[in-house]
Symmetry: C2
Subunit: 281 residues, 2 copies
C-alpha cells in the first residue's frame, strides 16, 4: 500500500500543486443558481469535482458548509467525497478536528478508516491540545495509507499572537507555537521522502515572523491556504515557501469558484498553468 506522502507526490507529478477547495459558501451557491440547502451543496460539490477531474489531483472540501445543513448536509458530503475518490482525486477533508484520547481517536476513525461513510485521504487537525494529543489519528492515518495536516501558521492576521507565542517548556522551548509544531511534525515524518503528516502554513505567512526553519519542512507536506481572495499571489509561491515549495498543496477556492459552473474548469486550468510556470522558472 502506498503511503499518503507517496500518493501526494504522484498527484504533484501528474497534475501539479494546485488543490481545488470545495467551499460551498451560501453566496457561491446563489451565484451558481443553486438553492441554499443540502441538495444545493451536493450539486455544487459534484460540479466542482467534475471541474477538477483531469485538471488537478487534489480537492479539499470545506466541511463547515455541509455541516450547516445537518445530517442532510453530511449525506450530501458523503456523495461528494465518494465521487471525488472514485475519480481518483486525493481528498483532504478540511475539518480541523482536535481533542484528546478516545474522542480524537473517534474523529480519526470517522475520516480515515477504510470503508467508513466519510472516508477521505487526509484530514486537517488542530493541535491546541498538543501534538501528542493527536497521535491516535496520526497512527491510524499511517496504518491506512492516509494523511493528516496539522495547523501550524494560519493565513489570518488574528492568529499571530497565539501562533507566535514562545514555548516555555518541553522539547521545543524557545520556539514559537507554530515553529514547535513544524519541528514535532518533522520528527514524526523522519526524513525519508515526502511524509504523511503535513502542516498548514498560510501563503500570507512570513516564515521568519514565526521562526519557522524551512529546513525542517524537507519531508513535510504543506497545505497552503491564503492564495486568491486572501491576498497571496500564486506565482510568488516559490518565493513564499522557498526550498519547501515542492511540498506545497496550493489551495484555491473562491478565486476560481466565482467563475461559475461553466467557468470554473477554465479558471482552474489557468491557475494550474500559472503555478506550473512559476515552479519551473
Amino acid at each position: 500500500m502506498p503511503s499518503f506522502g507517496e500518493r501526494l507526490d504522484a498527484a504533484f507529478d501528474a497534475f501539479g500543486h494546485v488543490c481545488l477547495g470545495i467551499d460551498a459558501h451560501a453566496h457561491l451557491l446563489a451565484e451558481w443558481g443553486l438553492p441554499a440547502s443540502a441538495d444545493g451543496a451536493r450539486a455544487f460539490g459534484l460540479r466542482a469535482v467534475d471541474a477538477a477531474v483531469g485538471v488537478v489531483g487534489i480537492v479539499k472540501p470545506q466541511i463547515a458548509f455541509y455541516e450547516r445543513h445537518g445530517s442532510a448536509g453530511y449525506a450530501a458530503l458523503e456523495d461528494v467525497i465518494r465521487a471525488a475518490r472514485s475519480a481518483g482525486l486525493v481528498v483532504i477533508a478540511d475539518v480541523k478536528r482536535g481533542d484528546i484520547g478516545s474522542t480524537i481517536d473517534a474523529y480519526g476513525e470517522a475520516w480515515l478508516t477504510p470503508g467508513s461513510p466519510l472516508e477521505v485521504d487526509a484530514m486537517t487537525l488542530v493541535a491546541y491540545h498538543g501534538v501528542g494529543s493527536i497521535s491516535g489519528p496520526i497512527e491510524l492515518a499511517r496504518a491506512n495509507g492516509k494523511g493528516v495536516f496539522v495547523l501550524a501558521a494560519t493565513s489570518n492576521v488574528e492568529a499571530y499572537p497565539l501562533q507566535s507565542a514562545m514555548l516555555q517548556t518541553g522539547a521545543h522551548h524557545r520556539l514559537s507555537v507554530a515553529a514547535g509544531i513544524v519541528a514535532e511534525v518533522d520528527a514524526i515524518n523522519g526524513g525519508a521522502g515526502l511524509g504523511s503528516v503535513g502542516v498548514v502554513i498560510g501563503a500570507t505567512v512570513g516564515f521568519a515572523d514565526y521562526g519557522i526553519d524551512p529546513g525542517l519542512l524537507a519531508s513535510t507536506p504543506i497545505l497552503a491556504p491564503g492564495f486568491g481572495e486572501q491576498g497571496a499571489v500564486l506565482s510568488r509561491l516559490p518565493q513564499l515557501y522557498g526550498p519547501a515549495s515542492a511540498n506545497v498543496v496550493a489551495n484555491l477556492g473562491r478565486s476560481v469558484l466565482k467563475a461559475g459552473p461553466a467557468g470554473v474548469r477554465g479558471a482552474l486550468e489557468e491557475q494550474v498553468d500559472e503555478l506550473s510556470r512559476a515552479l519551473t522558472v
Copy 2:
C-alpha cells in the same frame, strides 16, 4: 429573550453544577448492550437524556462519537439533541470548532441558529486562529440567546507546552496562551452577571501553572472536563476553582455512564449530591 448566561444560572439554581457528558464510546455501547452503529449511538444518547432529566440541568453530547457513523450518526445526533432540548435540558455540543471568516461563521450557523437541524444551546470552540477569529459565532450566539465555550487550559498533560506558551505581542503579551484567552473572554463578557461566552478549564489544571487570574473569571462560565476517569475529584471542585466555582459546569461522562443504562441515573444523583454538599460547605 434570556441570555445563555441567565439560562445557565437558572440551571445551576434548579439542578446544581453537574453536566452529563453524553459520550457514546464504542466500549460503553458494548457495555450497554447496544450495537456499534448510528442506531446504537442514538439509543445510548436517548437513554442518557432520560437519565439526566430531573437530575441535572445540562448535558454535553460529544459529537465525535456520532460523526464516527457519518450522516446516519448525525441523524441520530439530531434526535438526541431534540429530545434533550424538548426536555428542557441545556445542551452543549462538544464540537471544538475553529476556523476563520465565512467558514467559522458556517460552523456557528450549524449549531447556534434557531431552527437549524443541529440547534443546541452552546458549542465549544477552539481559538488556535486567535479569539478574534471566532467573533462570528460569538456574535451569533449572543443574538440568539446562545453560548460558546472557548478552550483555554485543557485537562490533558500533552497540552501544557502550547497552552502555557508566552504571548510575545498583542493586548495580552506576557500572559500565557490560556491566560490570554481567559482575559479576552472576560473583556467580551464585560462583567454584568454571568456572561454567555465561557471557557474550558480542566479540573486537572493548576491555575498558577498558566498564570490564570481567577478574578478574570467572575462573569465567565467555565466548562470543566477532567473529573472522574481523568483523575480530578468532584468534591474538591471548590478548592480547584476557588472564587470561580459558582460558574463551573462540572462534566461527568464515563465515570457515571459506566454504571450502565439501569444505573446511570442513580450514579448521576449521587454525584449531584456530592457536589452540592461540597459547594455548600
